[in-house]
């Protein structure tokens, strides 16, 4: 393992307006490093969906992004309510989001499926009442 870059972001669970700032920052960093634009788009979309989920479902959390020679790994950890049924949550269209969230353009139940669609690996660790950690990897 040679050069590795690690970035950490604390996501505010109370500010929907600022959701996406971390994903935007990562996008800029990857652009500066000269990562392929298709890869950047996939990372940005997956992380943005995860970041939004943290805000609307889990009252915020911490995102750690590691860039290595071979891949970009995103770990999204929150102390929210956890996900009772992962299979159900992964279905397109399944959402427990409140009406208020829908009126903001989210809560279509496409977030987790999108995260899976745009990444090469995705793993969900969740404990009810304790929190959720989602790990996603995009190969370089």
């Amino acid at each position: 393992m040679s050069d590795q870059l690690i970035f950490t972001y604390v996501i505010d669970g109370d500010d929907f307006t600022r959701a996406g700032e971390a994903s935007s920052s990562v996008k800029n960093k990857l652009k500066m490093i000269g990562v392929d634009s298709d890869v950047i788009r996939r990372v940005a979309i997956a992380m943005y969906e995860g970041e939004i989920n943290m805000v609307i479902h889990a009252n915020g959390g911490v995102i750690t992004v590691t860039i290595s020679d071979t891949d970009i790994t995103m770990v999204l950890a929150d102390s929210g309510p956890g996900i009772p049924d992962i299979d159900k949550a992964m279905q397109e269209g399944y959402s427990t989001a409140r009406e208020e969230v829908r009126s903001l353009g989210f809560g279509a139940g496409m977030g987790l499926p999108n995260m899976k669609r745009y990444t090469d690996e995705m793993h969900i660790d969740t404990v009810l009442g304790t929190g959720t950690t989602i790990t996603m990897k995009v190969n370089l």
């Binding site: 996406g20 935007s24 903001l104 279509a108 977030g111 999108n114």
Partner: protein, 114 residues
């Protein structure tokens, strides 16, 4: 079609980005649900929507979209315009409703992204 041609076809107003007017924009995605845009709009360069909040600009940013069209006379606030400026995304506003605006652009040869 260029962003300028889109603006003229829709009788739209440039709220930001006239300097981007000569950019080409060939594929459009129209939706009010941003997750749908994120799921299916990744090949598109234009986002048309009736939703008006900062996450619309963020969504466009993630997808490398070059132009957002707000329909039904929706007006983004200062914060959204600053964000668009920062990201280099042109912002148009038209009085047309979504269906009509889509129809006009389709007639002009624009298509949805595959």
């Amino acid at each position: 079609m260029t962003i300028r041609e889109i603006q003229e076809a829709l009788d739209a107003q440039f709220l930001y980005g006239e300097e981007l007017a000569e950019l080409d924009a060939d594929f459009v995605f129209s939706a009010d649900m941003m997750s749908d845009v994120l799921a299916f709009g990744s090949k598109c360069s234009v986002l048309m929507t009736g939703l008006c909040n900062p996450q619309v600009v963020r969504t466009a940013e993630m997808l490398d979209i070059v132009c957002i069209i707000f329909v039904r006379g929706k007006m983004p606030d200062e914060h959204m315009l600053t964000l668009a400026m920062d990201k280099g995304i042109a912002i148009l506003a038209t009085e047309h409703y979504m269906f009509t605006a889509c129809g006009i652009l389709y007639e002009h040869g624009l298509r949805g992204g595959a």
